[in-house]
Amino acid sequence: MAAENASTTEIVQGGSFLLTPIGQLPQFTPEDLSDDSKEFGRAARDFIEGEVLPRDEAIDKLDLPLTIELLRKAGEIGLLSIEIPEAYEGLELDKKSSLLVLEEMSKQGSFSVSYGACTGIGTLPIVYFGTEAQKKNYLPKLAAGELLAAYALTEAGSGSDAMGAKTTAVLDGDSWVLNGTKMWITNAGFADIFCTFAKVDGQHFSCFIIEKDDPGLSTGSEEHKLGIKGSSTRTLILENCRIPKDRLLGEIGKGHKIAFGILNIGRFKLGAGCIGGAKRVIEYTLKYTSERHQFNKPLNSFGLIQQKLADMATKIFVGEAINWRTIGYIDDALSQSSWSDPDAGAKKMQAIDEFSIEASIVKVWGSEALSWIADESVQCFGGYGFSAEYPPEKVYRDCRINRIFEGTNEINRLLIAGTLLKRAMKGELPMMQFGQQVAKEISNPPKAAAFTGPVARLKHGVELSKRQCMLASGLAVQVLGQKLVDNQEVMARMSNMMMEIYAMESAVVRAERMLESGHRWAEIARDFTELYVNEAWHRVHGDARMLCADVTDGEGLRHALAGIKAFAEFHPTSCARLRGRIASQLIQKGGYPVEII
């Protein structure tokens, strides 16, 4: 697949955004998408609007034959083969194309989970870790939708602590014999193959490909869930389940590489799916609030409703900026190796792992944005939002899972700060140097005048935020040392600041490009970004101050806060005015205007 026009070959280090001046890292934006990729997105949109959304209700009654039929239809038009190499009858498209498709798929919550588990966590372990024979055997059929896949990592006793699995695998002659029960397995009701994790001899965490008809395999009954009720979730029961020896995936004892590598991919996809879902929510919320009248006026004429509408669209714009920036880095890194390389899978996995901080940010930020948007959609509908007759009620339930699976948001928050610290300790990221630079700058902080361009003020704001985050985090490291990772609230504050900085910076750069290129929606892009930075800057400021208070007090705290204050010369503009302007554009357009496909 041809490289995107705005791609760069400069390889970026994961996590370096925090330490690099705004604008110096390359950044992919949705506006850089090639016409080619967009067409794949449109094909997915036609499919989802023509085949899936009209069957929304039936899907959510857990009509599994229907879900199977829809997955097979998706397979017929190639939607299951996007990430499978050409050598195994896949389309071998870049991750950008898969993200565009995923955004569309996510307009039906249950189906998107079935689709994601099948094409993502279910199929990709074989793509990246399979032997030649395994790939030849399974991938063409997975690409065509003849086989549907699932991923079985979690157990009743081990969720977040996935490595604590109790399922065992013992070699007996030419077969592995597996025993144990996997829990919460998406697609278990119909999957043909399960990428399943078990400990060899009770010790060495490993992955196996298990087929539905293998002796000793059964599934439990369907879980009764809060949301995504149309997705199949069951236990996978292995009782002396006997499989051929060559079904071991990857190496004995290296299962964690598969588990965590695949989760990384799952994370940035999940974030993209959330923004796709949000686009549907804002659509019907705009429609309802334009039609419903109270006090003789449409709801969308009220300031507090406009506030919600503007914030929904702003989150979508910022979320897109985060997602596409991240996918740009990942695609660039992936394009450094070819599938014809002998160790292509390992190289590609490593390329993706490099951006585990960003992938976790995308997951947490996106899932929380959608939760907020779904909640406010219920609110905009008033009593009707609480009724199952109207669409917000369902999305409110469906979106809840996103903060739980693919690593809970707590676990991901711990990973964001934890990975940064680990890389800093190893000297892979120049965090110490940046810390020293910031300490010196306290007496001479960056001035607004040093920034240029149409969003200079916002760029200044982002740079100030980085310094506040650095000062507070540096203090935490200094005071707590090794104990920092056990102080989870402090870790979460660090992560929150990093997320906001990544979000602000991604949006600012995106808006600046749109303004400079005279994009049709450049003005509203500026408003989205200004609104977001106004609010997020103050959240980072608050987190930085309170983080200091978590680790020190008295004179030490006074001193730390004075340092942070040195980087606080940033004045907000009127959010109310920005929201009013954004809302009037949304209402006029009747939708989120910055269409990317």
């Binding site: 794949f40 038009i77 205007p593």
Partner: protein, 248 residues
């Protein structure tokens, strides 16, 4: 067999249409463009014939550069060749003349089109092409069978079905129900990128009509709530229908 399908690019039915400053055309800003849905039935029928009878399918669209999207999509769905007749013409006779002039002598056995382009709703171009080429036609067709140099078409008429038989070459215009159009496959989309779209100057003799004005419907007046008991409301509604709406 050689099949020609005429495709028109039209504004998406969900686009909020605004009248342009000239007062007689659509403001193209923010308009989303699609293939006219009736043309999609025509194209699907052609592709099915290609699959069952080894036909070669050419798609043609008269319009501006943006109509290439429609052609590219048709290539992704399975058309073999695509031609853009570059023209600003909007009068049905001018469009039909340009299409007929281009198609003449190229040996098409079957010309398929939608029975009308949504939005304009003139339902003229297909029949006009048939007349200009002096070949058979059947319009608003819901079922089509192609024999050896012949066709058999069914159309829904008031209270029944009309069956028409004729000789090829012919123009057939498609109605909803003719088939269920397929989705473009990602492979098809990738394949379409490798094909080229031929561009031809489609300037046509000016037509016999021109659009002189376009007006949005007046805003709907606000509704009114009738108060009182159901019986009182019914009486009020009846008198409003009689005295104000003058329905009876």
């Amino acid at each position: 067999m050689k099949i020609l399908v005429a495709l028109k690019q039209v504004p998406d039915t969900e686009t909020r249409i605004k009248v342009a400053a000239d007062g007689k055309s659509i403001d193209p800003a923010d308009v989303k463009w699609i293939t006219s849905p009736y043309d999609e039935y025509a194209l699907e029928e052609a592709i099915r014939l290609k699959e069952s009878k080894a036909a070669e399918v050419t798609v043609v669209s008269l319009g501006s550069d943006s109509a290439k999207d429609v052609l590219r999509n048709a290539l992704a769905l399975g058309a073999d060749n695509a031609v853009l007749l570059k023209s600003e013409a909007s009068d049905p006779l001018a469009i039909a003349s340009a299409l007929a002039a281009w198609a003449k002598g190229k040996g098409f056995d079957l010309i398929l089109a939608g029975n009308k382009g949504i939005g304009g709703d003139n339902a003229s171009v297909g029949p006009m092409i048939a007349e200009l080429l002096d070949i058979a036609q059947a319009n608003v067709v819901v079922k089509l069978e192609i024999g050896d140099g012949t066709f058999r078409a069914e159309r829904e008429i008031e209270g029944g079905t009309e069956v028409i038989e004729g000789k090829l070459p012919a123009v057939i215009t498609a109605q909803k129900g003719l088939n269920e159009p397929r989705y473009a496959s990602l492979k098809g989309i990738m394949g379409a990128k490798k094909k080229t779209i031929e561009e031809v100057d489609g300037a046509a003799p000016s037509g016999s009509t021109s659009v002189v004005g376009m007006v949005m419907p007046p805003a709907r007046p606000e509704g009114r709530k009738l108060d009182g008991e159901p019986a009182q409301q019914a009486a009020a509604l009846l008198s409003a229908l009689k005295d104000e709406a003058k329905i009876f």
